[in-house]
């Protein structure tokens, strides 16, 4: 999956932010939205176009939790482990999903690039705890069993 990137698309993003180096975070966010991760080739290209060093862009990309240098799955499942979800037992849900998808803390994405499972500190939907999101859609009041059913439903959609 190395570096199939369309520079035209990146140009459009740069255009949108008027080649403003201070908008690098927004530019990286839009780039990630296109590819579901930050492809290596994008760094050199952005560096040349924005006049920022590659190291600088890399430092930003690695600082923020939301950026990924590895390809993510088609469905990104985020299990909230904020305080409210934690006290209402979110960890068993995470464990169930990892077990079903044969994933672990160090391996977040399935081989077929369909699912990524990760935790998030707080989604602010604490009233519905425990929650998880699939590509930003919120699923409230989850249980390990409901999570398994959700996986089955997502698999059908593919």
């Amino acid at each position: 999956m190395d570096e199939m990137i369309n520079f035209k698309e990146i140009d459009e993003i740069l255009e949108k932010y008027r080649y403003e180096p201070s908008s690098i975070i927004a530019i990286l966010q839009d780039t990630q939205a296109k590819y579901r991760y930050l492809p290596k080739a994008a760094f050199g290209y952005l560096s040349a176009k924005l006049g920022l060093s590659t190291a600088k862009i890399y430092s930003v990309a690695t600082f923020y939790e939301n950026f990924s240098l590895e390809p993510k799955g088609k469905y990104v499942i985020k299990i909230c482990d904020g305080t409210a979800c934690h006290v209402r037992k979110s960890i068993p849900i995470l464990e169930k999903l990892r077990q079903e998808l044969k994933l672990s803390e160090s391996k977040a994405t399935t081989e077929d690039l369909l699912f990524t499972v990760e935790t998030v500190s707080c989604l602010g939907a604490c009233g519905l705890a425990p929650v998880l999101t699939v590509n930003d859609k919120v699923y409230p009041a989850m249980t390990p069993d409901k999570a398994r059913e959700l996986l089955a439903k997502l698999r059908e959609e593919i």
């Binding site: 939790e65 006290v87 602010g124 604490c126 519905l128």
Partner: protein, 624 residues
């Protein structure tokens, strides 16, 4: 495009009349919580069904409405998230809970056509039926000022905001007040920052106003990162214009013409509502150049966070807007002197800005009359955890913890006993039974060793292990430590290691003192507010629950039976039939025995995963 004051007043009058003409209104809660529960499907279904009856249905507030149309609106968070999706019917004020698309037909035929409440959808508790929202105990004890509009107007429409007098405070500030007047009003109101520290807003604005710089910035901190807090999210989603208005007034008072809102990327709905609100305000000429024919220019941009808790800290937040790693810097210079792009910057949080129009409109004296004099006004809290009514509430400062948890929150879930409440997120502390009469305001909490923080209240019952909670927060802080200063980067790591040891049975009595010593060092030497407060949850849990720490460290027991590693799993020989299922399922081969005779668990090998407990058909495997 409104080009002068008269046109703004006129627009307000037109939409006020239009809103008044809608005799019936349906307000569908469209906060994150209810949307997740299916509120948008309900909204669409209601429109479909109303149109089927032949009644005209107004989804947008038009300047010339039909007299008989039913207004249907996506409102901000009603707050009673536990009961969502919520629907409010006006003018009667009926509140329907846990509404499903299939309930819509009955709502339309009974409540809209025949004007009767649908009894099966109203809130019931202890044999009482509460058909109107105002009667429900959850709402009765609240004073909703900042959240007043949430649940009552369409959150996605500037026209509705204008109809209820929106941008009136901005108009007053722009035409009738000097910069000094505005700042004086805010200063005299004693408004204190709602983001955590409680710094007087008027003083902050005065300092920025004094700076000799051609460029100044107004920044709104919407990076509500504390786990268990969602007040700011609800304001951004439910009443975005109120917050924009507050920022516009701040810009006017301090001489700034650019504003930024920094919002967490985890709040996509808030971002889209804000984008829409900014666009509408721009189209009406309330943002942009020469606003309402004056020489005041003001623009607002949204900056999306990328998932770093530390960006809630002022200097980290401004660094992030500048496109850098969000790491705090040494102060001074302070943000009011050199903030965003090294220019003087007013940095306030969402709720603070949302208070501003209220104060300008009603005056400092009115504001000061609410709550205690030193920290007046109201505060929004997010009630979560093991509490009956989770949700978003707003009470006058100085309301006691008991009123919040038991009267509004409805007490604990499933009849469990109250143990503690974590206030102020990972930078806060916990409060216990003995603090229930404590008034919630900045100064009283500080005395008790806690802080309001942004306003998250995570309520914990007797089944919660406080050592595990402390470990959870320390783990959070350690993960989110930006790594710039040693005390926070290394200190929190060591504290987490010690806490992990204690909860897994490796603890020693001396560990407790070591934790306190580390806490002391980190608090006095860390660079930023987050580091300085990182140890607070540990210090306060040790202070109030030392016995629990000792039980873990010395007796290797978790009194709340939460910590896995301290559990002992055993097979009851009376109940075991010797089927060997547990032995086959055990991932570490810790169970052995002879078929048809009681099996045994080797506690040395057992990792207490609990897989055997689930597998046993005879419930013979127990833990203590």
């Amino acid at each position: 495009m409104l080009s002068n004051r008269e046109e703004l007043i006129q627009a307000g009058a037109i939409y006020q009349k239009a809103l008044g003409a809608q005799k019936k209104k349906i307000l569908v809660c469209a906060g994150t919580g209810c949307v997740a529960g299916g509120a948008l499907e309900i909204y669409d279904e209601l429109i479909r069904l109303i149109e089927k009856t032949g009644i005209s249905c107004a989804v947008k507030l038009e300047s010339e409405p039909h007299d008989d149309s039913v207004g249907i609106k996506k409102s901000g968070c009603h707050g009673f998230c536990e009961m969502g999706p919520l629907i409010r019917i006006e003018p009667q004020g009926w509140l329907y809970i846990k509404v499903k698309p299939e309930d819509c037909e009955q709502i339309v035929t009974e409540s809209i056509v025949s004007e009767r409440p649908v009894d099966r959808l109203v809130y019931k508790k202890n044999g009482e039926t509460y058909s109107t929202q105002e009667e429900i105990p959850f709402y009765k004890k609240q004073t909703r000022l900042v959240l007043d509009h949430c649940g009552h107007i369409d959150a996605t429409s500037i026209n509705e905001y204008l109809a209820i007098g929106g941008y009136g405070a901005f108009q007053k500030a722009l035409f009738d007040m000097s910069q000094d007047d505005i700042i004086k009003e805010i200063d005299q109101s004693n408004l204190r920052g709602r983001g955590g520290a409680g710094y007087p807003t008027g003083r902050k604005w005065t300092q920025v106003r004094r700076q000799q710089s051609p460029i100044k910035y107004i920044v709104c901190n919407g990076d509500e990162g504390d786990p268990g807090a969602f007040m700011d999210r609800s304001i951004m989603e439910g009443d975005p214009h109120r917050m924009l208005e507050g920022m516009m007034i701040a810009g006017l008072a301090c001489g700034a013409s650019e504003g930024y809102i920094y919002v967490r990327a985890e709040y996509p709905l808030a971002i889209s509502r804000l984008e829409k609100a900014i666009e509408e305000a721009r189209n009406y000429g309330l943002l942009g150049k020469a606003i309402l024919g004056t020489d005041y220019d003001f623009t607002i941009k949204i900056s999306k966070g990328a998932g770093a808790f530390v960006c809630g800290e002022g200097s980290a937040l401004t660094a992030s807007i500048e496109g850098k790693r969000g790491m705090p810097r040494v102060k001074p210079p302070r943000t009011v002197e050199q903030g965003l792009f090294a220019r003087p910057t007013v940095l306030n949080n969402v709720e603070t800005f949302a208070n501003v129009p209220l104060i300008i409109q009603n005056g400092a004296q009115w504001y000061k009359a609410i709550g205690p004099e030193k920290s007046p006004g109201t505060k929004a809290f997010a009630l979560t955890g093991n509490i009956e009514n989770t949700g978003l509430i707003e009470v006058p400062m100085g309301t006691t913890l008991r009123e919040v948890i038991f009267d509004i929150g409805g007490g604990m879930r499933d009849g469990a006993a109250f143990k503690a409440v974590q206030i102020g997120g990972p930078s806060g502390g916990c409060l216990t039974q003995e603090h229930l009469e404590l008034p919630l305001d900045f100064d009283s909490l500080k005395k008790a060793g806690a802080m309001i923080g942004s306003g998250g209240l995570v309520v914990m019952d007797e089944h919660t292990c406080m050592v595990e909670v402390a470990r959870f927060f320390m783990n959070f802080t350690q993960n989110e430590s930006c790594g710039k200063c040693v005390p926070c980067r290394e200190g929190t790591k060591r504290m987490r290691e010690i806490l992990e040891g204690i909860v897994s049975g490796q603890g020693k009595l001396e560990d407790i003192d070591m934790l306190l010593e580390l806490a002391d060092t980190i608090t006095s030497t860390a660079l930023c507010g987050l580091g300085k407060s990182a140890a607070f949850p540990v210090v306060s849990t040790i202070k109030y629950f030392r016995a629990e720490y000792e039980a873990h460290a010395v007796d290797k027991k978790c009194p709340s039976k939460v910590c896995q590693k301290l559990k002992r799993i055993y097979i009851d020989p009376e109940l075991c039939r010797g089927c060997s299922k547990c032995a086959r399922i055990c991932p570490v081969n810790a169970i052995a025995g002879k078929i048809k005779e009681p099996f045994l668990i080797n506690s040395g090998t057992c990792i207490k995963c609990g897989a055997c407990i689930e597998s046993c058909a005879f419930k013979a495997i127990k833990e203590d």
